[in-house]
Amino acid sequence: MVNYMTDSIAEITFAQAINRALKDAMVEDDSVICYGLGADDPLRIFSTTKDLVELYPERVFDMPTSENGMTGVGIGAALNGLRPVMTHQRLDFFLLAMDQLVNAAAKWHFMFDAKSTVPIVIRLIIGRGWGQGPTHSQHLHAWFAHIPGLKVIIPTSVNDAYHLLKQSIKDNNPVVFIEHRWLHNQKGSIDTNHKSTLSQAAVVKQGTELTLVSSSYLTVEAIRACEFLEQHDVSVELIDLRTVNPIDWPTIYTSVAKTKRVLVIDAGARTGSISGEIVAQVSEMLFDQLLAAPARMAMPDIPEPTSYSLTKDFYFGAKEIVEKIMTMLGIDIDPTQVDSLNVQGHHDIPGEYFKGPF
């Protein structure tokens, strides 16, 4: 058996990193099982479950379209010594299973006085674009963050995808692991020396003038924004949350105490969002240190529509982030240069390789 763990791996995709984490976890620990709609089908959940059923036919399986029941099955298996990883191709489908998640998984350890644990990982993939529409694109991480007892991981980088998924599987708590579909083809490398830890945010880029807090796919846009601003001598510190429950407050406080300004960006609907939580908490804790009003950019309180024209300006990206930061800092940059941040080609696909329809 190849020991995948020895070498750092360069240039793989986020989806491959997920696959690698699953494979390594299954190799290392017999008790890991992996199931979900499509876990063993020809497409293997966007290739993230590739090879697994061939390696472990008893531990990898498809399931009936029974999201609530199968979540409970995972909880029971977890209570009886297994470490299930369940995957849903869209977060939205998992709304069927909120009773099992919230009333059972999240509470079990607490309400039975720490007598047992529920080590289950639930991978949820968030859709966007190509007409995903109102029920295939919901960014509901704020919901999971609101439930005591859940850990909620929402990684961006390839390295984090790998390490955080492995640690989620090793963790004794129910973990909701959220993958943005548009990250699946992002490239990066796994650094075996640089293990990310659950419940720690990452300072992706150091900076002095403003703290930008981001997560998941929006961090890709945030990085573009920061690089652009850097070229224009604006120094932004970028924090990638990675975990939204529990939130890594020390990292955020330290940064904001330094920069004295904060912008939080969020792909969830604005009202009741995690960006609100962070703005609120920073305002309460660091009010006297802030030089300007804290701010957030979140999605409008509107479901994602389907039509190409309706999604055209629906999401914000690097350009809008730059514009917001310019306003917050009161600086001017040549608008045509800012416009260069606009995505080339179709706005509703993660890249030109994508030909629909899924």
């Binding site: 709609l37 379209t65 007409g131 509107i302 529509p305």
Partner: protein, 326 residues
């Protein structure tokens, strides 16, 4: 056939519906690669028999809800083809104003109350439509389209239990095409168990029919619908059928490994349209020339609908925020 008289009145509608569904779906499959229909799209090619047989049996005041694979159901219920295609193209003239796409179709004017993209989601909603019909003592019925996969959702069971408890005027039309995405029934439901066993167990009378045999479909549907209209409670019919193309999208995918080319060919050989045409010809109910003429007319209509969809304007995003609440 006991209701031959009715059937003779309806054969043309059935044939038209078969052609309409097949040719509109083929039209979509052909044009999809142009990249103008930018939404997940599930075609019903191969599965036209059941909706076509149902078309003439429903009144405009009957209601229906459907699933992600809704084109055929929408059209069979009399939904406007132009508005459907415009919706798939994301246009303002689309039946959902471009907000829903292929998976979210609606035509209130003909009682097609909506299709949604979450498996099982519309099942209890269809039962709720029937609750209102029953409370108002109507003779209308509500049709709930379900796949063999949707049967696995607990909400199907809950909705069926309630329909049986209250003896609601619901017709469950189950198109068993053997697969849920790439998963055959054997990965999802106990081997040897029939879907109708479950439903009978719940307390709903069931029937089965060969979904490729339009005449049989019509006969079974017409009997069961009659019983529902008479107030004899809900009915569930399981139809065997087969989707020819990939689960989602315009292509064939028999090569990717979840099913065989042979299986596909065996089902294709039983295809509902040719078989119905043959039947009409054999019994001299319609001449091949007349059939060809009908198909020609349908194709004109379809071409016009695609034209309409293509030239329609895109919706403007301005109105989105104002329609969160009604």
């Amino acid at each position: 056939m006991s209701d031959l008289k009715h059937f003779l009145q309806h054969q043309k509608t059935i044939l038209e519906t078969l052609y309409l569904i097949r040719d509109i779906e083929e039209g979509i499959a052909e044009r999809y690669p142009q990249g103008k229909m930018r939404c997940p799209t599930h075609l019903s090619i191969g599965q036209e028999g059941v909706p076509a047989a149902l078309a003439p049996l429903l009144k405009i005041t009957d209601l229906a809800v459907s699933t992600h694979r809704a084109h055929a159901h929408y059209l069979a219920k009399g939904g406007c083809p132009k508005a459907m295609l415009a919706e798939i193209y994301g246009k303002a003239t689309g039946c959902s104003g471009g907000r829903g796409g292929s998976m979210h179709l609606i035509d209130e004017s003909v009682g097609f109350k909506g299709s949604t993209a979450i498996v099982g989601n519309t099942i209890p909603i269809g039962v709720g439509l029937a609750l209102a019909q029953k409370i108002r003592q109507e003779t209308n019925i509500s049709v709930v389209f379900v796949g063999d996969g949707a049967i696995e959702e607990g909400v199907f069971y809950e909705a069926a239990n309630f329909a049986a408890l209250k003896q609601l005027p619901v017709l469950f039309v189950c198109e068993n095409n053997l697969y849920s995405v790439y998963a055959p029934l054997s990965k999802r439901q106990p081997v040897g168990r029939k879907i109708t066993d479950v439903v009978n167990g719940i307390g709903i009378n069931t029937a089965i029919a060969d979904g490729n045999n339009v005449v049989e479909c019509y006969q079974v549907l017409s009997e069961q619908i009659q019983q529902i209209r008479e107030g004899r409670g809900p009915r569930f019919i399981e139809f065997s059928t087969y989707r020819w193309r990939e689960h989602c999208g315009p292509n064939y995918d028999n090569h990717i490994g979840y099913r065989t080319e042979e299986e596909y060919l065996a089902w294709k050989a039983k295809e509902p349209i040719a078989r119905f045409e043959q039947w009409l010809a054999d019994y001299q109910l319609m001449s091949p020339t007349d059939m060809a003429k009908i198909r020609q007319q349908i194709r004109h209509k379809i071409n016009a609908a695609f034209e309409f969809a293509e030239v329609s304007e895109f919706p403007s995003a301005d109105k989105l925020a104002n329609t969160i609440y009604g």
